[in-house]
Amino acid sequence: MWQYTLKRLLQGVITVWFIATATFLAMHSVPGDPISGERAATEAIRANLAARYGLDKPLGEQYVIYIGNFLKGDFGISFTQQNRQVNDIIREHFPVSATLGILAVLFAALGGVLWGALTAIYRNRLPDTVIMFLVILGISVPSFVFAALGQLALVNINNFFGVSILPVAGWGTVSHMIVPALVLGMGTMAYLTRLMRSSMLEIIHSDYVRTAKAKGLPAERVFLKHQLRNAILPVVTVLGPAIAAITTGGFVVELVFAIPGLGRYFVQAVQQLDYTVIMGTTVFYGSFLVFMVILVDLLYGWIDPRVRVQ
């Protein structure tokens, strides 16, 4: 188990290094650079700025410096935001995104498992039909539509009751998080519901569930100990990529609900070719996701003993 964990971590480090290199090269092959624009009014100013940020050095040398700084944990200073360390940006805004993302994943996973199991149990009956219809909606409607609809619904509800039951936008308390997290997790929840339904249907008809019934176990024990744990395996497998989709896809929802998350800086940085922020956020997100995938793999091994041995 330890050897497996160590191997996975090593693979993760290589993945992150690859992400960093690819981003570095891609970023530099985009026409223009962060100091072109109104700031570099004359050639002299431009040259000075380039020298100040080290942009006049050959690409290879810049790369070595970047990687060296990464290894020291220093992501550098933002080009566009005066005197702001990339580390500070991440430290300040990532917890917001992460809280939102984790909440959304929790919603998605719990909802997906619950609805999926329910549809399988009520197969081809009314609850199944209704939930599967909603699932199609959840998968096909993009999150910004849900975000806008969610906000509209909140406005109307708050109006109706005359008090603010849940805030429409902003960040700070738990009540700020509920609706954005629901909206953010919606698509994944729908996807997981479908996955859970099919895997549950397969297991309901499996031989070992029949054995469990023949042992005379009560229905809830058969469900919890024999069906759920086995049915949940494929859901856990896609949880890693789902976390990836949710945390990186969060910026749209963050924008609509005016949540000061990292996603906004990530997108802004790409638009403004803010090299250090692009590199910092990408590498940070990358390592976060790689770590999550490893975590999910380890979790999978914990649930399914067959994985542990290999």
Binding site: Y208, T211, K213, A214, K215, G216, R229, N230, P305
Partner: protein, 340 residues
């Protein structure tokens, strides 16, 4: 012999499918007595498994349906009931093992936990007490290094070991009846014999009744006291193992015997398959279901379903040949007058 421990009477089971309603079991009767082994024999799809699964409440309903009939354990009806006399029927009164041990155990639960589970649920044992008992049971079914094995998962066991574990699980609550649904079909021939011996030994120790479902006549000869031969959802011949084997009274039983390979050095018979295939149970034939394949078929066979004719005490056959007015009363049968 005293009143039967388990008695099934006139059991009818149907299934709704897209193609129509399948009458899988059409009036099955059998009795099992304590300490004895009943073998239910028949080809695939004749309703052997459906019969016992209906008894155990393991048939998904819908699409399945028990139309009529009864199954009584010590005189108490068990169809549609979960408990009798305060004891759970499934797992406590009647234990069951299945054909494919590889897929019949939960892959994410240790063997020990799976054996301990019925004890916790039915007997109210604590976890540690149930675990200790599970270890004893593993030793009872001759699994070496029980302590180590109990902590393993099904994928770490071989097929034969898994079937032993299944047996340990099924007998954990000391059932009065053990149903073994083709317990050796998925196993190697060498392992088959071991599993059958184990079942026989356990039966001797515990005095439980055994219902053995199989299509292997060799297994029947080795294990059974009584035999019920099933065809197209009905018991066509029933009796003691000697009666059914040496005084076979139904053409189907004879057909099965002739279709069985043997390696007697003196005999050079070719195998005689039973021509044709079983009838369509969407619309079962009016008369005898075997008439279309039967070499002795008469007019009456096509028109009317045969009743049970007693050919000897405790030995009956559902065949018109045994009727008093039958022109060639079964004389050809005992001589092995087979298919053409």
């Amino acid at each position: 012999m005293s009143a039967p421990l388990l008695e099934v009477q006139n059991l009818h089971v149907e299934f709704d499918t897209y193609g129509g309603t399948v009458q899988a079991v059409r009036g099955v009767d059998f009795k099992v007595e304590a300490g004895r082994t009943l073998a239910i024999v028949g080809e695939s799809g004749c309703g052997k498994s459906v019969t016992v699964q209906a008894m155990m409440g393991l048939i998904p309903m819908p699409p399945g349906r028990i139309m009529k009939g009864s199954a009584k354990l010590r005189g108490v009806e068990i169809l549609g009931r979960k408990t009798i006399e305060g004891r759970e029927v499934r797992g406590a009164e009647i234990g069951m093992i299945f054909q494919d041990p590889m897929s019949s155990l939960n892959p994410t639960m240790t063997i020990g936990d799976q054996i301990a589970e019925p004890l916790i649920v039915h007997r109210g044992y604590s976890r540690s007490k149930a675990w200790a008992r599970a270890l004893e049971l593993l030793k009872l079914v001759r699994i070496p290094e029980a302590e180590k094995r109990a902590k393993q998962y099904p994928f770490e066991f071989s097929g034969g070991m898994l079937q032993r574990a299944m047996i340990a699980m099924a007998i954990s609550c000391k059932p009065t009846v053990l149903i073994a649904d083709e317990p050796t079909t998925a196993l190697d021939v060498t392992i088959q014999a071991q599993i059958l011996d184990l079942l026989k030994d356990l039966q001797k120790e515990t005095g439980m009744a055994l219902i053995l479902i199989t299509h292997d006549l060799g297994v029947v000869a080795r294990m059974a006291d009584d035999v019920a031969v099933m065809y197209a959802g009905q018991v066509v011949e029933s009796g003691s193992v000697d009666d059914v084997f040496y005084r076979s009274s139904h053409p189907y039983t004879l057909g099965l015997k002739l279709a069985m390979p043997n390696n007697d050095p003196g005999r050079h018979d070719t195998l005689q398959p039973i021509e044709g295939s079983p009838p369509d149970l969407f619309s079962p034939p009016l008369g005898c279901a075997y008439a279309a394949r039967c070499p002795h078929s008469m007019k009456v066979c096509e028109a009317r379903s045969p009743e049970q004719f007693d050919v000897a005490p405790k030995h009956y056959s559902r065949c018109w040949l045994h009727h008093a007015q039958s022109p060639h009363r079964a004389e050809g049968l005992y001589l092995g007058g087979g298919n053409e």
